[in-house]
């Protein structure tokens, strides 16, 4: 967290609401990138990001500086999107029983660049937290501690979950994404 951002937050809490514009300019796209992967329609995603920023503004005094502002707003955006999805009862595929698989099999499939479209379809069938986890880890290259804060999970369990998601993606691709 940069010192000038801390000063800005103090100013906003002191009544200078217009200073919040800085955070909107700087972090809205980042929050949008998380929401837009979970929410299919652009308009819904925009509205959810706006809701997230309004919530952040209203709860600014609860910002504990345990994380950066960027991670904090991403967490709010993520929880806003997930509760929106829950209200709409969107269905996601759950594979609880996983047959015995070798890591080599999984790695090989997830490295096969000729099957990217299949992989894309498989990703859309993952649960929102799973989609967000692999996106933040593999695509955004965020540290596990930040991801744990955004997803409200323990960093230690994320590695196991990433492992499970890889296997799930493999199964979805192997059995066809229409399962």
């Amino acid at each position: 967290m940069q010192t000038d951002e801390q000063e800005l937050i103090a100013r906003i809490l002191d009544g200078h609401a217009e200073d919040f514009g800085y955070f909107l300019e700087r972090y809205s796209q980042e929050a949008f990138a998380i929401v837009v992967r979970l929410v299919p329609r652009q308009e819904d995603a925009e509205e959810l990001v706006q809701d997230a920023f309004v919530r952040a503004f209203n709860r600014l005094e609860t910002f504990e500086r345990r994380s950066s502002f960027s991670t904090w707003i991403c967490r709010i955006a993520y929880t806003t999107a997930v509760s929106w999805l829950r209200k709409r009862r969107m269905k996601y595929l759950s594979i609880d029983e996983q047959p015995k698989l070798t890591d080599a099999e999984v790695d090989e499939t997830l490295d096969d660049e000729s099957r990217i479209e299949e992989l894309r379809r498989a990703i859309t069938l993952l649960k929102p937290d799973e989609q967000t986890l692999i996106t933040l880890y593999y695509y955004d290259n965020r540290p596990l501690n930040d991801i744990a804060y955004i997803l409200d999970a323990e960093p230690n369990t994320l590695a196991t979950r990433l492992h499970r998601i890889r296997r799930k993606l493999y199964l979805l691709m192997k059995h066809g994404t229409n399962k």
Partner: protein, 113 residues
């Protein structure tokens, strides 16, 4: 979990097909919504303050009347029966009207600034 170059296909699949962006006026629209909500909240608090003041005053007056209403009424009757009681009524009324108008004018001046 070790992230390796092996995950190239996964990384490509996670990349958005067409990059989606927020509209350029997003910060402006969000700030406007924040300010609107703040204004509504202030109005709501203002209304609540008025309602609370009115309720507390009414309860206070009712309690006063209940507890010492009889004594007050008797004193009022005895004071009104004396002939020089109403000598100060007109000057007092004049002062009240003058101060009410002054208060109104000062409030308007304050709101203008």
């Amino acid at each position: 979990m070790e992230q390796t170059s092996k995950d190239r296909a996964l990384m490509q699949a996670l990349a958005p097909k067409e990059p989606r962006q927020l509209p350029s006026n997003f910060p402006y629209l969000t700030m406007r919504r924040i300010k609107d909500e703040q204004r509504l909240e202030e109005r709501c608090q203002h209304r609540m303050a008025i309602v609370t003041t009115v309720v507390v005053s009414l309860v206070g007056i009712a309690a006063l009347l209940y507890l010492v209403g009889d004594v007050l009424w008797k004193s009022l009757v005895s004071v009104c029966s004396q002939p020089d009681t109403f000598v100060l009524v007109w000057p007092t009324l004049f002062c009240l009207v003058f101060f009410a108008l002054l208060n109104h004018w000062l409030s308007r001046q304050y709101r203008k600034t």
